[in-house]
Symmetry: C2
């Protein structure tokens, strides 16, 4: 028989064990193009909390009565696919919480099967050589791109993504600083090459973070969201880059506990980019931009409304009406 | 005499007229390399609120007793600089709220003087052909880069930056949607080429925005922050780009009115970039990333800790302990 964890119901508040129920089903037979896998490893990842939520997410969720989704590693026990044979080791996102999984190696998406490379621990394809490793790699080398000597703060630093991110940051010449929830975890991070660590349960988190990041935080690889996110954001250095990757600190809170709007959920779901803009950083582009703007204006494609207040004596009034939204168009004072 | 608005004191809550006081001083003489300008236009810009705040900002603020900072346009009335003569029109950031300003055309920074180009209204160098125009231009062409047909939502759309941003977005083939505070302002935006408009004072703001942006918001050029920011963020389309440019809706609130942490202030000050990350967008880079990771592991530069729970029957427990932060390293279940 095939033991399977089915979703019993969506959690209303924090996920609890009774959200799933264990069931049994016959072990299936692989149809043409399919392989039957006996699971050896299941990967537990925070994204799964989104999959059992009621609301929409970036990927389809699990409905009550369905097998819980999850990646894993297993051994092929029966193959109806020319490239796979019994004994092969396979890693896939679409294993599910069960003893046996049917995979379609040629299918797109999560039913796809990946061969476990030789010479590495087989379960590494679920962690540093798999999805969490890729997350850390892309986050640092494509999105954040830390420069040598820059400080890279990583939350959930001893976690699946954090451990790899810290070592990639170090390999890039940056200073990885760990945030984790116990001194033991922080000691492990030190062993991995993090230059400093802060316990997020410390009542003086902000102060300790400041001591670990005397020039501010150049890169923040955020796997937690919540109070940690707020604390680090308040210490960003100029031109910092923030990777909003996870929100485990807030994702499992009771729905009725309003913690105010924090953007991390929408930013992950939409992969939106948010970037501060101060025009003086771009002052060297002034001539170029002005030439374009002047052309648009000459072509009649740029119109503009001004709100003119007369007299220097009315300067404060002009400023205050603009602040109150009472102006209509560009606020000017004519002297 | 030279009338000057001095900062009297930093505002504690919203700025009020008594934050400044009008004083008089002798009209100064230009020293070598300087020019004396009689102001004709003062520019009122939201950034000035930051300059009179007590706290640090991205530029040095005004201290009590100092002339209020601000850009303007004026006419040279006396020159002690070889390139400038009486009658020349000059635009500068460092004019100040006063009748006469001394400028050093060769100096870096705000004391620098720019010639007013011919053939355009002289005050345009304070708006669409000056700093607000450059802000709009860079925000759209460098940061947001809307594609033809994409929806670009602009808050404070009839304001100094918003008007230009809407027309640049239209010139790029995008659909500019205005958010403004009156129907009159929205009608003006329509005249400028905005395809739709939403009054941010409407009690059904979110619903009206959804109607104007049926495919979601691809680009959000945010000049206001606050509730408008929250409302638009909740309607971002996948891979949206958000320009955090201004926060006039919240910058002048009383200090004691806690509206919760919103990132826009830190993002502007630091020009930080925030970007959502979902690793599956980068799955095509999997082989490349894995090769790098495997090399680091072979070189002994990548270490990794796992937290292994035994038995499929303990899968929910493994998931829940990870959610509670009780795991130490990558959470796995071994079957």
């Amino acid at each position: 028989m095939n033991r399977q964890w089915l979703l019993d119901h969506h959690p209303e508040g924090p996920a609890t064990a009774d959200c799933w129920r264990l069931a049994e089903a016959p072990v299936p037979e692989p149809r043409p193009g399919q392989i039957l896998v006996r699971l050896r490893w299941l990967s537990m990842d925070p994204y799964m909390r989104g999959r059992i939520a009621k609301g929409p997410n970036y990927a389809a969720g699990v409905r009550p009565g369905e097998v819980m989704q999850g990646g894993g590693v297993g051994e092929v026990v029966a193959s109806n696919h020319p490239d796979w044979r019994a004994g092969d080791l396979v890693e896939a996102m679409g294993m599910g919480w069960q003893d046996y999984a049917l995979l379609s190696p040629d299918a797109p998406g999560s039913a796809r099967a990946n061969r476990v490379p030789e010479g590495v621990p087989e379960q590494a394809t679920l962690s540093w050589l798999g999805m969490p490793g890729l997350t850390a790699w892309i986050g640092l080398t494509e999105i954040a791109r830390p420069m040598p000597g820059e400080t890279v703060v990583i939350s959930a630093a001893s976690g699946a993504v954090g451990q790899v991110a810290g070592q990639i940051a170090a390999a890039m010449g940056a200073r990885p600083v760990a945030i984790a929830g116990s001194d033991e975890k922080l000691a492990h991070c030190r062993d991995l090459g993090f230059v400093a660590g802060v316990n997020h349960r410390s009542p003086t988190l902000a102060k300790e973070l400041r001591a670990a990041c005397p020039e501010g935080v150049h890169v923040f690889f955020d796997n937690t969201g919540g109070v940690i996110h707020d604390t680090v954001l308040a210490q960003l250095a100029t031109h910092a880059r923030v990777i909003v990757c996870g929100r485990i600190a807030v994702v499992d809170r009771p729905a009725d506990q309003d913690i105010g709007l924090r953007a991390s959920s929408r930013l992950i779901v939409t992969r939106a980019r948010v970037q501060g803009l101060i025009v003086f950083d771009w002052w060297h582009r002034r001539e170029e931009a002005m030439a374009h703007l002047a052309r648009l204006w000459r072509e009649g494609r740029l119109n503009y409304r001004e709100d003119v207040v007369e007299g220097l004596e009315n300067a404060p009034e002009a400023f205050l009406r603009m602040m109150a939204g009472q102006n209509f168009g560009k606020q000017l004072v004519r002297l």
